[in-house]
C-alpha cells in the first residue's frame, strides 16, 4: 500500500522531469526560460527595467548591497549592447559574490538557529571556489574532517541536535529538515501517520528519512561541529497513531529503495574502531550517513534536482515556481511545470553548478523586467506577478539591508571587518561588523526556525531605523560619511541629485528635486537637514524593498 503511493507520486514528478518542450531545445537556458514564461502569460508585459533599477537589483542579488554612485553612472554611460551580460559576469566574479551567497545559504539552511565560524568559512569557501550544490550537500552530510575548509559543514546537522528550551533533542526535526531543505518536501506532519492531506507524503517516507539520523550524536572530541553515529543494529519500528500494525524500515530516501540493515558480529561492527584515547567515536561498518551523502544529492533523485532550482528561482524572482518552497507534491504542482522540469534537468546536466544557474536566471527578461506595470483595466496585479509579466518586489534580507545602509551612509569604513577569515571572526571588539550584524538580525530577522521567505516588515525594524543610536550615528555628520560628503557640496540642487544617487542609486526626478530642495533651503542647519534627508530616503519603501 505504502510503496504503491510512493511510486505514484514519484512517477508524476519523474515524468515531468524527463519532458523538455520542443521550443526550448538548442537555446541557452535563459532564452528557453523566457519562451516558457511568455507562452504561459496572458496580458501585457512590463517594460525592461531601467538601467538604474536593473543595476540596483543585480547588485543586491549578486553582491548583497546596493551599487556605489559611480557604479551607476558608469553603467548608465556605457552604450555597449552587451553591457547587462557583462555586468552579470563581472559581479559573479566580484569578491562580494561569495559573501552574498554564503549569507543567502546560511539563512536558507540554518533558519537563524545561530552561527559558527567554521560553518561560515565552509560556506564562503564553497562559493569562492564555486563548489557545486551536490558536492556541498555531500559535504554537509559527510564532511572530510581532515580538510579545514570542510570542517564546519557538519554544523547543519549538529546545530539541529542541540537542545533548546524544554524540548527533547529534535531528531524528527532534523529528519524533516533534510527533506525540506534538500528535497523540497515537508514530511513533519507524516511523522505519526500518513500525511492527512498530502497523498504523496507517507509515514514510511518520514520514518525512512528518520532512520538515517536516528543513531547520530554530536561529537565532543573535534573542537568544531561534527557528527558521529552509533551502530544501527536493526531497522526502525513505527506505528501509525491511527492503527495497531507495526512496521519496520531501514534508512530510505523518499522515492528510493530501502537500505537493508545488515547484521555484524561484535568484532566487525566498526569499520573504524572507537579510539578511547582521543575519544573519537568509531565509524560503524553499516554507515547510513555515508549512503545518504552518496545518494541524496544526485541526478537520480528528482526531488533533489528541483528543490534548489525552485529556491534560487524564488530568491531571484520573488516567489517559487512551487509554493510553499517545501511543499512540493503532485497536488501542489509548479505554476509553470515545464519550466521547473527544464530548470531541474539543465541544473543536473550542468552538474548542479549554482553560479551557472544564477547567471542564467539573471540573464532572463523575466528577471530584467520593470517592477512597474501600467495595467490594462481587466488585468490584476497578482495575475501579472504570478505570470512574471512584471518584476515582483522582494524583501531585503537583514544582511542586504545592513550592507546597503552601510554603503549608502558611507559608514562601512568604521567597521573594518569582513566576513572572511577566522582570526577576524574571533575578535570581540565593541564595534565590529559582527556586532552591527547582530543588531540588524535582532531587528529585522525572523526568530530561529522560522524560514525567511515572505516579506514581513516589523515594528521592531521601524523602531530601529527611527530611534537606534547606531542608525542615528550613521546619518549625522561624522567620520567621512555620506552626510559630510553632501555637506561639502554648495549647490543645493547638486546635493539632492547626489543624495538620490547615493541612497536610491538613481537621479532625482524634477518633482523630487523641487520637494527635497525646498526642504533643504528652508532649514536653518544644513548638516541636520541633510541628515534628515538621508534618513528619510533610507527609511523609504524604495530603499527597503528590492524592486
Amino acid at each position: 500500500m505504502t510503496s504503491l503511493r510512493i511510486s505514484a507520486g514519484l512517477a508524476i514528478i519523474l515524468t515531468a522531469a524527463l519532458y523538455a518542450p520542443a521550443s526550448t531545445r538548442g537555446v541557452e537556458l535563459h532564452t528557453a526560460i523566457d519562451r516558457l514564461v511568455e507562452d504561459a502569460a496572458d496580458g501585457k508585459f512590463a517594460a525592461q527595467a531601467t538601467d538604474q533599477e536593473f543595476l540596483r537589483r543585480l547588485f543586491l542579488d549578486l553582491t548583497g548591497e546596493i551599487p556605489a554612485p559611480n557604479d551607476v553612472a558608469e553603467f548608465v554611460a556605457n552604450s555597449g549592447a552587451d553591457k547587462r551580460i557583462e555586468m552579470v559576469d563581472r559581479l559573479l566574479q566580484d569578491e562580494r559574490y561569495a559573501r552574498r551567497m554564503s549569507e543567502l545559504f546560511n539563512v536558507m539552511l540554518m533558519e537563524r538557529r545561530g552561527t559558527d565560524p567554521t560553518w561560515s568559512r565552509f560556506l564562503v569557501d564553497s562559493f569562492k571556489v564555486n563548489r557545486h550544490w551536490d558536492a556541498m550537500v555531500r559535504t554537509i552530510i559527510e564532511p572530510d574532517l581532515s580538510n579545514v575548509s570542510e570542517q564546519g559543514a557538519g554544523y547543519f546537522l549538529t546545530k539541529r541536535l542541540e537542545k533548546y528550551g524544554q524540548n527533547a533533542t529534535d531528531y524528527p526535526g532534523l529528519a524533516s529538515d533534510i527533506g525540506r531543505l534538500f528535497m523540497g518536501i515537508d514530511l513533519a506532519c507524516a511523522q505519526c501517520h500518513d500525511h492527512l492531506f498530502v497523498d504523496d507524503y507517507s509515514q514510511a517516507d518520514f520514518q525512512g528519512l528518520f532512520a538515517f539520523v536516528s543513531n547520530t550524536f554530536v561529537r565532543r572530541d573535534t573542537g568544531f561541529p561534527a557528527i558521529g553515529q552509533k551502530v544501527m543494529r536493526k531497522p526502525l519500528e513505527f506505528q501509525s497513531v491511527f492503527g495497531e500494525d507495526m512496521f519496520t524500515t531501514g534508512p530510505r530516501i523518499p522515492g528510493g529503495a530501502e537500505l537493508e540493515v545488515p547484521e555484524y558480529d561484535k568484532d566487525n561492527q566498526f569499520a573504524v574502531a572507537p579510539d578511547p584515547e582521543s575519544k573519537a567515536p568509531g565509524v560503524p561498518s553499516f554507515n547510513p550517513l555515508h549512503y545518504l551523502s552518496a545518494t541524496l544529492p544526485s541526478a537520480s533523485n528528482p526531488r533533489f534536482q528541483t528543490n534548489l532550482v525552485n529556491r534560487l528561482w524564488a530568491s531571484m524572482m520573488g516567489t517559487g515556481l512551487v509554493w510553499p518552497l517545501d511543499l512540493h507534491h503532485s497536488d501542489n504542482p509548479a505554476t509553470h511545470p515545464e519550466l521547473l522540469s527544464l530548470l531541474a534537468s539543465e541544473f543536473a546536466k550542468h552538474d548542479f553548478d549554482i553560479k551557472w544557474l544564477v547567471r542564467e536566471l539573471a540573464l532572463t527578461k523575466a528577471y530584467q523586467r520593470s517592477s512597474i506595470l501600467q495595467m490594462a483595466l481587466d488585468d490584476h496585479v497578482q495575475k501579472a506577478e504570478s505570470e512574471y509579466r512584471v518584476f515582483r518586489e522582494k524583501a531585503l534580507s537583514p544582511e542586504q539591508l545592513m550592507w546597503s545602509i552601510l554603503k549608502a551612509t558611507g559608514a562601512k569604513d568604521r567597521y573594518p571587518l569582513e566576513l572572511n577569515d577566522e582570526e577576524k571572526l574571533a575578535t570581540e571588539l565593541p564595534t565590529t561588523i559582527d556586532e552591527v550584524r547582530e543588531q540588524f538580525i535582532s531587528s529585522f530577522a525572523n526568530p530561529p526556525r522560522e524560514p525567511e521567505v515572505e516579506f514581513s516588515p516589523s515594528v521592531r525594524g521601524s523602531l530601529f531605523l527611527l530611534n537606534s543610536q547606531l542608525v542615528q550615528s550613521w546619518v549625522t555628520v561624522g567620520g567621512n560619511n555620506s552626510t559630510l560628503q553632501l555637506l561639502k557640496i554648495s549647490d543645493s540642487t547638486e546635493i539632492i541629485d547626489s543624495l538620490y544617487f547615493t541612497v536610491l542609486s538613481r537621479p532625482a526626478t524634477a518633482v523630487e528635486l523641487k520637494q527635497m530642495r525646498g526642504f533643504l533651503i528652508s532649514q536653518p542647519d544644513r548638516a541636520d537637514a541633510i541628515a534628515q534627508l538621508v534618513w528619510a530616503l533610507l527609511s523609504s519603501n524604495e530603499f527597503l524593498i528590492n524592486h
Binding site: C189, C192, L196, F197, D199, Q239, V241, D331, S371, I372, L373, Q374, H380, V381, E385, V390, R392, E393, A395, S442, S443, N446, P447, E450, E454, F455, S456, P457, S458, V459, R460, G461, S462, L463, F464, L466, N467, S468, Q469, Q472, T476, T509, V511, E512, Q515, M516, F519, D528, Q532, L533, W535, A536, L537, S539, S540, N541, E542, L544, I545, H547
Partner: protein, 437 residues
Amino acid sequence: MQQHTNHQSSSHKQLCTPAQHVMSRRRLLGTTAASGLLGMGGLGGLVQPLIADELTQSDKQVLFIWIDGGMSQLESWDPKPNTKFGGPFRSIQTTLPGIRISELMPKTADIMHLLALDRGVTTVDNSHSRGVPRIQRGDPKDRGVIYPYFGSAVAKLMGQGNSQLPPYIWVKPGSGGFKYQDAGFLGPQYGALAIGDGLPPPNMVLPETLSHDDNSARNRLRQFANAQYAAGRNSTFGEAQSFVFDSAQALMNRRALFSAPDPVDVELYGDTELGRDMLIGRKMLEAGVRFVKVNSYGWDTHGDNFNGHASLMPRFDQAFSAVVTDLDQRGMLDNTLVIAMSEFGRTPRVNGHVGRDHWPEAWSIVMTGAGIRRGVVIGETNKTGTFVENDAHDIGDFFHTWFTALGVNSAETEYLNNGQPLPIAHDDCSPIKELLA
C-alpha cells in the same frame, strides 16, 4: 484527500442551514452592481460605507484568547468522569446550578455565572496547519480569496477607535512583529501587531539629538518618497512597510503600556507566561485597543495528556478567571467581548502515549462580555463525549454570533474586494440566539 473533502461538505450540510438572510444577500448583490458602476469598488472596502462609519464610532472591544494546539474539552469545559474516555480528573460544581466543569478549573467554576458555554461545537479540520487559520477565519465558503482572521476582520469593520493604537494587537510568547498574513484580502494594514514575550520592542525612545518636530519633518519626507515610489507598483509591500512605521510611532507615544506590572495584578493573574500576557492584554484593552488576541501555546498533548493538562489548566484557570473578573470589576465587561477557544478539541479515546489527539467533532467554546448572555450553557455531547447530540454549531455560527454581539449585522454587512461582495461570515450559518443577550 477525497475522504477529507467529502467529510467537509457533508458536515456543513448537516450544520449550517440556509437562513432567511440569503434573500437579503441577493438584494445586496443587486445594490453592489450599481455601486460598482458608481466607482465605489476598491480593495478591502465595505459594500455599505454608512454601516462602516457607524461601527467605527462603537466602543465595543474584543479579547480573544487563543489556546493553540487544542485544549482538551474533557479536562476543561465538558468533563465526563467515570466514563470510558473520561480520564482521571473529577468534575466540580460551579456557580451555575447543575453545571459541572473539570476540577482543574476551580477559579473559573466560581465565575461560571458570568460565562456562556457551548459544549456542542463541531468543526471540520483536524490538522493544526489548516485548523488554525480556518477556524480563525470563520471557515467561510471558498470564494477564491483568503479571508481575514477574526482580529483583522474586526480591525477592518470597526477601526482603531480613539486609541491611536493599532486596532489588532496580538500578545504572545516568542517573536513579536507585524503579522500581516492574518489580514488576507483586506490588505496588510489590517494585520496583527504582535507583542512577543511581553517585551516592548527595543528603541522606543527618540534619539536625544532629535526633537519631535525634526522627527515629524523627516517622516513627512519619508512619506513623500513613498508616494513617489508607489506609482504603478503593487501596493502590498509598500503599505505593509509604511504601516509598521505608523504603528511604531503610535507605540512610542504609549510607552507606559509596557511598564512593570503591579504586584497585586501579578498575584491575581498568576506569575506565569499566560498570566503576564493576559495582564498586558487587559492594559491594551484599557488603552482602547479594539481587538486583543492573547495566545497560549503548547496544548497539543498527543502524549501524556493528563499530566500536560494538570500543568496547563491551572495557569489558564487563573489567568482567564482573573481577566474576566477584572474586566467586570472595572466596568469593562459590558463593552468587551471575551472568547476563549482552540482550533479543535481532543479525542475522547486515549492513545498509546496516554495522549489525546485532534478532535474537531465535539468540543467546547466559552465566551462572555459584550452582547453575550451570561450564565448559559448550551450544546451537549453524548455520554462518552465522542459526538454532539442535537444542535451542533460550526465556527461559522460563532462568527455570526460574535459579529452580532459587537453590533455588526453579520447577514447584511459585506466586504467589497475588487468589486466582489463577500459576506463577513459563512452565508449558510447564522447567529446562535441562545448565546446572545
